[in-house]
Symmetry: C2
Subunit: 192 residues, 2 copies
DNA sequence: TTCACTATATATAAACC
DNA sequence: TGGTTTATATATAGTGA
């Protein structure tokens, strides 16, 4: 599309690459805006230059959410989000967040020549993991407390109030039903 | 770019709009791939037609994550993600997920003619809300347990084992330091 | 929807500032 | 990097199948 034809392969000259990037980024952004307007489409476009600079375009929303909080949506409308979050879509999306926020220098310093397709599928569990960590933390506190509680009870029974024995397992049968831990999988549906 | 020049405004003829959408979607996808290759850039592109059909392009990852789990990243590299998650970027991203997963018919049925820019900023707290709910649930269990524990202790002290008084506040000074609840904000940094 | 066919509008490579 | 300019390569509107 210019004075000469170019092959679609990495532009080795770094200056040229940057210049071309700039021009084409503007071009693609313009196209994104145009298709949005012409075709009543919705577009989300995020581009990173090889130096790590981000540009993005997100088409204006055309939903009924104007002036409202998402929390005012009917449950029916939120379910797909929640299901998606539970089914790992969130992690794909967090991967995109990752691309947005991790300074490119760090990533590229490690990139060398490794080229990978679909590496992001590896990240599928990331959100779940983060939530799991938080759950673990709370669970730990709960567990400690259960030990403490059990300790107190036994101490009371034994008449010795301060001989805490935190090392042993707490038999699950001793935990009142209401206090049992939920499975580790975060349950985003509950307690609405 | 064709036989005639067109204004950049919504194409009213529905068939034309669809045809133009198809062509331009292909065009923009091609451009996305080209800039990826030519300029060593990273691109994430999601497009919805006005009928709700989604197309997307995501450039192959060129990071060191090949064959590795994101959990193997150094903490230094994960921090920006975690900060972003805490700072509400996640919710912007969940908004994009929302656009991906909510059946367009539902959204459009409600859309009427309301046009909104930046409605998605309203969604900023959605992820935080979900996490908060989960925390609340766990916190509730903790609280109940603290009551139970306190009850047991007092019951032991009083010699009456089954007179649970769950209604009153648990004085925070009674809670051993290690068992105090963390603030409601999910702490995604801890316990790595 | 998708395919093909052009004529034309646009994007952009190369060049220089 | 960001603006020019200009020649050329591409994208695509309009049309028909």
């Amino acid at each position: 599309m210019g004075r000469g034809k170019i092959e679609i392969k990495r532009i080795e000259n770094s200056t040229n690459r940057q210049v071309t990037y700039s021009k084409r980024r503007n071009g693609i952004m313009k196209k994104a805006k145009e298709i949005t307007v012409l075709c009543d489409a919705e577009v989300s476009l995020v581009v990173f230059s090889s130096t790590g600079k981000m540009s993005e375009y997100c088409s204006p929303s055309t939903t009924h959410l104007k002036g409202e909080d998402i929390t005012s949506l009917h449950h029916k409308e939120l379910m797909p989000i929640e299901e998606a979050l539970q089914n790992g879509l969130a992690s794909y999306i967090v991967y995109n967040a990752y691309k947005k926020v991790v300074p490119k220098e760090i990533v590229r310093a490690n990139a060398a020549n490794k080229q990978t397709t679909h590496a992001h599928y590896r990240h599928e569990n990331y959100v779940e993991r983060l939530l799991e960590e938080e759950n673990k933390r709370l669970s730990y506190i709960l567990h400690q407390q259960q030990l403490e509680m059990d300790g107190n009870v036994r101490e009371m029974e034994n008449g010795s109030a301060y001989n805490h024995d935190k090392g042993r397992e707490y038999p699950s049968s001793h935990i009142p039903f209401g206090f049992r831990l939920q499975p580790m999988q975060p349950n985003l549906h509950d307690d609405k």
